[in-house]
């Protein structure tokens, strides 16, 4: 009996979402009376960083050291995960609710005839395995129970603080029936901006809206983000008119974020925008209109002209960082 976690990595560098998933799996294992936590890493990996998953709660890491798995194709990968789950009598399979997990978790759930809860924000509790997640794009929560013997869960990014303990995991090869011939998706290229944390995982976000008047004014938004080490985001109309790239669009029809700090500059706070940011821990709003609805959803606010306030805020942060 075990809890299995899928390891998402970029050329051997394990993603933060995986650490969260391993932490989560360890809590699930404990609540089930101390099951073994086994991680599964596919493709070219590095044994030291896999052994380090022990500090997050894994006791063993299974590897399939086949370069075919260096690119993403959900069909063969889900097959290997299901094989590993069966071979290790996994009761629960855990993913990070990221771009890989969103494609893999549903497939694995079908293969194992397991109930699936995506974007879990609580550790399962009670005899009926109750799990909480956000629904209605952040406007409410729902508690679900899973009715099947095997369960699949994906963990919402940034929902749990990372806990590091002691320990190293043993690394073992896993043999699978799946190989290069099962791959149907050919990845041509992957382009990733490496200098900032991806928006869904970001702990600090600086976001701006139509109040900034034009793309030429984003310099100060970027400066503010840089000094904080934050990721930039925007409202939908800003992405629609092409001032900013689509992947920065936050809200009900864009990305949902759950950072520790969300700073909204020149964004009115329409219900569809709020839906994507409601789960932020702290919200700061800078808007020249004291009646802007966003102030009702904010923890801190500055009523003022962004073109005056933001440069001053940058100066104040510089001083803070230097002190």
């Amino acid at each position: 009996m075990s809890v299995l976690v899928y390891v998402d990595h970029i050329k051997g560098t394990v993603k933060k979402g995986t650490y969260e998933a391993v932490n989560y799996a360890a809590k699930v294992a404990e609540s089930l009376g101390g099951k073994e936590v086994i991680a599964l890493a596919l493709g070219t990996t590095n044994n030291d960083s896999l052994a380090a998953l022990g500090t997050y709660g894994a006791s063993k890491v299974l590897t399939v050291n086949d370069a075919a798995f260096d690119t993403f194709d959900s069909r063969p990968i889900a097959k290997v995960i299901a094989e590993a789950a069966s071979a290790n009598a996994a009761e629960v399979v855990v993913f990070s609710h990221n771009s890989s997990g969103k494609a893999l978790a549903p497939r694995v759930a079908v293969r194992l005839e397991a109930g699936l809860i995506t974007g879990a924000s609580s550790v399962p509790s009670g005899d009926d395995f109750t799990v909480r997640r956000s629904v209605f794009s952040g406007k409410a929560f729902a508690d679900y129970t899973i009715n099947s013997a095997i369960k699949v869960l994906s963990v919402n990014p940034n929902s749990f603080p990372l806990e590091e303990g002691e320990g190293t995991a043993s690394v073992e090869a896993f043999s699978t029936s799946v190989g290069a011939g099962d791959f149907k998706v050919k990845v041509l290229e992957v382009s990733r901006s490496t200098d900032t944390v991806p928006l869904p995982e970001a702990e600090l976000v600086v976001s701006a809206g139509r109040g900034l008047k034009g793309p030429e004014n984003w310099g100060m938004v970027e400066d503010l983000a840089t000094i904080l080490g934050a990721t930039t985001a925007c409202s939908r109309p800003v992405a629609d008119v092409g001032w900013r790239p689509h992947h920065e669009h936050v809200g009900q029809t864009g990305v949902t974020v759950q950072p520790n700090l969300y700073i909204a500059i020149g964004i009115s706070g329409a219900i569809q925008h709020l839906a994507g940011v409601n789960n932020s821990k702290v919200i700061v709003v800078i808007n020249k209109d004291p009646e802007a609805p966003f102030f009702k959803a904010a923890d801190y606010g500055i009523v003022g002209d962004a073109f005056e306030v933001v440069p001053k805020l940058i100066e104040a942060l510089k001083e803070f960082k230097n002190s």
């Binding site: 959900s74 771009s99 759930a109 699936l116 809860i117 009926d128 629904v135 990733r192 991806p198 001053k312």
Partner: protein, 246 residues
């Protein structure tokens, strides 16, 4: 090309969310429903564009009750050719995927579209489950797709970037922003939609693997603390000392 688009309903984006029956049910009183935006704006429109370019048919399918017919008619007015409604209340994603798979099994679709997620239950589940049930490749979160012959070149969103790939039909794709631009149905489309076939079929037996126990509204945020615009250093202090986020 034989194309299938999965569509569903969601509460209007401005709907006030509340619950009844001891918070075990979504209160649909005074809520109007729309076609799920990613299904309408991106999946459906891209499917219609592919048909316009390469020929073929666009079928829309939904799992839902009679009230869905209005949303299905809108999809037909935008440009789908025919529709199937599986006459059942969707209980969970697995149940929905089973129904769509049962329809798709004998039909040999070249391409099956879903939206990336529904904006009510935000599952990100149906597309992947459907692909697995049909043993097809699944390209999720697609923001661009071109088709030549039977090979598609697709870009999809990944954390902090984009992945470009090729895959041969048939496959399942989940569409998101970037795939297409919203189309507003015109008068002619609306008239034609009335005569397009809408087939109602009964569901196949399928388990529901999860159930909803209770809903809860998030706690109200405390009222906002305003900081003097001349003194942003005070904001920095509050974020550091009080909120402890920087």
């Amino acid at each position: 090309m034989k194309l299938l688009v999965c569509i569903c309903k969601t509460p209007d984006t401005t709907a006030k969310i509340s619950f009844t029956n001891d918070n075990t049910q979504f209160d649909t009183n005074n809520v109007s429903f729309i076609m799920n935006p990613t299904d309408e704006w991106y999946a459906l429109v891209r499917a219609i564009e592919v048909k316009e370019q390469l020929g073929g048919t666009v079928t829309v399918i939904t799992v839902g009750q009679k009230d869905l017919d209005q949303i299905v008619r809108k999809a037909l007015a935008i440009g789908a050719d025919n529709a199937v409604r599986v006459n059942a209340e969707p209980t969970d994603a697995y149940f929905v995927a089973k129904q769509i798979a049962a329809h798709a099994q004998g039909e040999n679709y070249d391409l099956i579209f879903t939206g990336k997620e529904t904006i009510d239950y935000n599952g990100f589940m149906v597309g992947g489950m459907l692909a697995e049930l049909l043993d097809l490749p699944f390209v999720s979160l697609a923001n661009h797709m071109e088709i030549e012959g039977n090979t598609a070149t697709v870009s999809r969103d990944i954390e902090g970037g984009v992945e470009k790939l090729t895959v041969d039909t048939p496959f399942v794709v989940s569409a998101q922003k970037g795939m297409a631009e919203q189309r507003i149905p015109n008068m002619r489309g609306i008239m034609m939609a009335r005569r397009k076939p809408l087939k109602v079929v009964e569901p196949v037996a399928a388990a529901s693997l999860i159930s909803t126990k209770v809903y809860e509204l998030p706690p109200e945020r405390k009222s906002v603390k305003l900081v003097d615009p001349e003194n942003p250093a005070e904001l920095v202090r509050l974020l550091h000392e009080e909120a402890k986020v920087i």
